[in-house]
Symmetry: C2
Subunit: 325 residues, 2 copies
């Protein structure tokens, strides 16, 4: 395991689900000073450590993890990796302040749009960076993360081009064995990711719990996938993020060999977990309105998902209540 010589920031991971544990765990294994905020997994990780299993690489086992019950306990750090679900963003207003010193950088690894803006509004835009994670992970039990493929991460500044701090973080991730790269325009990259996520994550739920291959095999839904992608590209362009039209074909082509793939939002929905409706569909729709664009397909999908996911969540909670009573 290579250890970076010069760059040894104090790092906090807020949101120690699969994403937080994976990237934070890899950094810790490479010798970085990583502190995890943990809730349900705290006891187990303190006792048994953290395991990153992989179908591709040898297991990474961290017997002793700096796991904490609160951000007060962690105290000020140089870098905060934020990996909680966007549906819980409100919690960041109280979780982040104990971690801050004047130079603390906040890096959101979260899905969709609006997370950098959320942090910038509350903690100042100079602090904010963001990252897109291209990785298939599953938390299979407390402290055990299963890696199922990919692993790349793209890191950029909320405002402007990569800075020395961006490159330092990229370098630290690379030293930890992660395929990390700096991106010139983070928000454009977010829009590019949404070109796929908006139709597939959404229709997989709204069309009756369908995998991507079934969506693509249905001529009407395939047309709707393309129509949604065109709306997303048009909104992005109107907000200053040019995406070439050929990117739509690329995204459709790359979906075909995926087989019976369940997008992450469908997995959340089927498990009666919160679905990140606002960051994936709500924010892009609000961007369309700012641009005075009529994005009818996106609007229909957004309002349907908002309802379907909140009904499913409520049904799941009432089932849970019944079981424990």
């Amino acid at each position: 395991m290579a250890t970076p010589d010069s760059y040894k920031p104090r790092i906090a991971v807020v949101g120690s689900g699969a994403i937080g544990c994976y990237y934070g765990g890899k950094l810790a294994a490479s010798g970085q000073d990583v502190h995890f905020l943990m809730r349900s997994d705290l006891k187990s990780v303190r006792k048994h450590g953290l395991r990153l299993r992989s179908t591709e690489n040898p297991e990474v086992f961290l017997p002793r993890v700096q796991a904490h019950a609160s951000t007060e306990e962690i105290g000020p750090v140089d870098v905060v990796l934020i990996a909680i679900k966007t549906t819980a963003n409100d919690a960041l207003e109280t979780l982040i302040p104990p971690l801050l010193h004047p130079g603390t950088t906040l890096v959101t690894l979260q899905n969709g749009l609006g997370n950098e803006a959320f942090l910038a509004k509350r903690f100042g835009s100079r602090r904010v960076m963001g990252a897109l994670c291209f990785v298939c992970l599953n938390r299979i039990e407390p402290g055990v993360i299963q890696h199922m493929g990919l692993g790349a991460i793209s890191i950029g500044e909320y405002r402007g081009k990569p800075k020395p701090r961006t490159l330092r973080l990229v370098e630290a991730l690379c030293q930890a064995g992660i395929d990390a790269a700096a991106v010139e325009n983070l928000i454009t990259e977010r829009w590019r990711k949404l070109v796929w996520n908006i139709p597939f994550n959404g229709l997989a739920i709204a069309a009756g719990e369908l995998t991507t291959d079934l969506l693509m095999a249905d001529p009407g839904l395939k047309k709707l996938v393309r129509g949604l992608m065109e709306e997303v590209v048009a909104i992005a362009a109107a907000r200053g993020h040019e995406i070439p039209a050929s990117y739509i074909d690329f995204q459709i082509e790359r979906t075909l060999p995926m087989g019976p793939y369940r997008p992450s939002s469908l997995l959340d929905y089927m498990a009666a977990q919160p679905v990140e409706v606002e960051s994936i569909w709500g924010e892009p729709l609000r961007e369309a309105r700012k641009a005075k664009l009529d994005a009818g397909r996106l609007e229909a999908l957004y309002y349907l998902l908002k309802r379907l996911t909140s009904d499913r969540l409520a049904a799941g909670q009432s089932r849970k209540r019944t079981r424990t009573e």
Copy 2:
């Protein structure tokens, strides 16, 4: 029961579900010469007659009904009342010809758009009339129709203003105790009805089997209802059917006192019966395309419904197969 003195056409009812039995039965009870094409209810009606029960009016009992197993058995008639589900329209190509003489009029009592055009293309537009039924009915067992409210019918020519034949049919229906009226522009009336049916019948299914009061109580879905209504009004206008914008408010207002109402398409969906997706959503969308209008909300709803309803139908049929095997 008043009997019209002069106008005694030979009438066939094709599609003896609730709508066909109700209007046909009322006409027969008033002394008209009505012949019913029946399938599953034939034996029972021949034996026990036809009953029209009502929460508002005395029961109409027809002990002897002219019920037939085929249109060949009925032979040529003056008026055909068509009340099969639009999902079975293809059957009309073989059902109608035996009923025709040179002056036979075809009156479609079916839902949505495109039914007059379907008949006109196959049997000549001069023959074609249409009717909009505003009535709540339920076929509760073979030969027994429960009337639960309303009952009005608006009749018009497919092409042009009402003719003497239109008024004669209206008069015969009025004599049968039905609130019938002639309409100046039938297709405009169809679009007006779609302003309500497209959002409410559709979202009731796509948003997870919701009654109209729940749709209206959800701020997002209420917005989507209005957005869909605006699209329908815009498509209608582009195709030459002006509907005032105030009609949207009227349709929303009138929905509020309905309470937990299940639109007919939702009832069909819940019973795993075919839903009239093409005539209610497909045809209006195709009209939008002819007008080069982007109706994104309608398109999203159409493709979702197409999938959801066909999956439900298939699931229902496989359940039925399992039960009978």
